[in-house]
Amino acid sequence: MIRGIAFVLVLLWSGLAQAFDYGLKAVEVAPETYVVIGAMEHFSRQNGGNIVNTGFIVTAAGVVVIDTGPSLLYGRQLRALIGGITDAPVVLAVNTHAHPDHYLGNGAFDGVPIAALAGTRQAIAEAPPALLDGIYRLVGDAMAGTQSVPPGETLAPGLREVGGHRLEFLALGGHTGADLAVFDRSTGVLFAGDLAFLDRTPTTPQADLDHWLAALETLRALKPALVVPGHGPPAPPPAAFDQTADYLRWLRRVLAEAAAQGLDAAEVMALPLPPAVAALAVAPAEFARSVIHLYPAFERAMLSAK
């Protein structure tokens, strides 16, 4: 009897695991241009890791996918979503950078060239297994079958015409060591990757704040009609540029001031957040993470200053 119940439970469990439904929806933000908007949250079992924006452009020469999402299952459901909109094949998938929510769907794009900047390819190839373990731990069943599949091709920056879309690939950095932005000069839509966040606190595990701020100015100068941030709603500029830059500058200032006062990291994490920062999604947790990522360099500079 007990064994029978256990068997039924196992069946239910595996059924649930396979059935995780991301409920992906494509929002058409410009002609032939779609964004799949993720939750402004941390990884969780409830969201299956869908905390990220992905996008695709349906060109006359096939579909270009920008980021593949956080899991194999997400990648498959993204591909199915695209298949519901067009019969055209996916001809190119790009990963904007080496953060797992942006590339762990690669496994679903079998037979499609997957390209990224050289630095991104290397970072994904060298990502420690513990990174994937950690996401399995946070997300659970929705990660089933997900493996790290590094992009097989190096993306050369520059302008490239794909099926009537003039796509400019920009090699930037600051959020990570290598950040790709894709600017569609035909529609004015800029896929900014995680160089831009809107209404969601920026993440900083590999951030170089000065470099990142410079990259935002480069993106601003493109004068896009619409900015698709890596996290948060697509919106015309300058909202995402301003908000991201304001946060980074605030972070830089508050960490420098804290180091000058001799605060320990544990105290810095507990500092009150100004209203503009507190209004961003997941602000307290993300700020605490940023302190761990970035504060040691400020402390070292302060301790070694003569």
Binding site: G134, Q261, D264, A265, M269, A288, I292, L303, A305
Partner: protein, 255 residues
């Protein structure tokens, strides 16, 4: 040592009277290891879970090798010891601080192996332990990972190098000091335990102001924070660190 501990325990029981024999306060963190921790590190003495120690630490360890915490027992009046431990770490005891003439405040970083309660207990003048604590979530692996220094060839050349700075904090003087040291736990394969085990703050004439025992879980290249009370008017102090191999590192600091 044992005798002194017994006497202390007896003295505390006498001065507290019936309260000491009252029902044991339940561990607010509901850790299965609490009873053992208390026996091992607090000598089984009377405890209270109150807000006597202000503990700052993250609820989640973003970096398992460097989890910061700061404990301030300033509101308790004279405090003779501050003991920090993480119940579920393979080596739970992080540090044992006897502030002496220094303020009852300590900040350090520790390596975390898995989600665990982090506690700091302060022993007040009446012999009562005030215990603060919180759970710290972690993906783990911090204690069994080799020190990052082992990824470089020349770490021994920099062993014991130090940096220090004094900050004015609300009338007190805060001293932050870091030493280059791998702080090996002995739990990483093939790397024996090698860690700073005692850090003292001394007057220039060598007399002791405060003494900190540090243990394996303290993070690589320890960054320690202590405070000198306003009343302690000194032109300079000397910080002395000794590791379990007998190396001694000395750092004079002008105040």
């Amino acid at each position: 040592m044992i005798t002194r501990r017994l006497l202390l325990g007896a003295g505390a029981a006498l001065s507290l009277g019936p309260r000491a024999r009252a029902a044991e306060p339940a561990d607010p963190l509901q850790s299965i290891s609490w009873a053992e921790m208390r026996e091992q590190f607090l000598g089984g003495g009377p405890v209270v879970f109150d807000d006597g120690v202000a503990l700052s630490a993250p609820s989640s360890a973003e970096d398992a090798l460097q989890v910061p915490f700061l404990a301030d027992a300033g509101k308790l009046g004279p405090v003779t010891r501050l003991v920090a431990f993480a119940d579920l770490n393979p080596i739970p005891l992080i540090l044992d601080y006897r502030p002496g003439a220094l303020a009852p405040l300590i900040a350090a970083r520790f390596k975390i192996q898995q989600a665990t309660p982090l506690r700091v207990a302060a022993l007040d003048a009446r012999g009562l332990w005030h215990v603060a604590g919180q759970w710290v979530d972690a993906m783990g692996g911090g204690c069994t990972a080799p020190a990052l220094a082992h990824g470089t060839d020349d770490w021994t050349a920099h062993l014991g190098e130090s940096e220090a700075r004094v900050f004015a904090r609300d009338g007190r003087r805060r001293l932050r000091v870091s030493f280059r040291h791998p702080m090996d736990t002995g739990l990483a394969a093939g790397i024996p335990a090698f860690f700073i085990e005692r850090v003292t703050v001394e007057k220039p004439d060598g007399s002791l102001l405060g003494a900190l025992e540090t243990f394996e879980p303290v993070s690589e290249n320890p960054l320690l924070t202590v405070e000198l009370p306003a009343a302690l008017a000194l032109p300079a102090v000397v910080i002395r660190a000794r590791d379990n191999n007998g190396n001694v590192f000395r750092r004079p600091v002008t105040l």
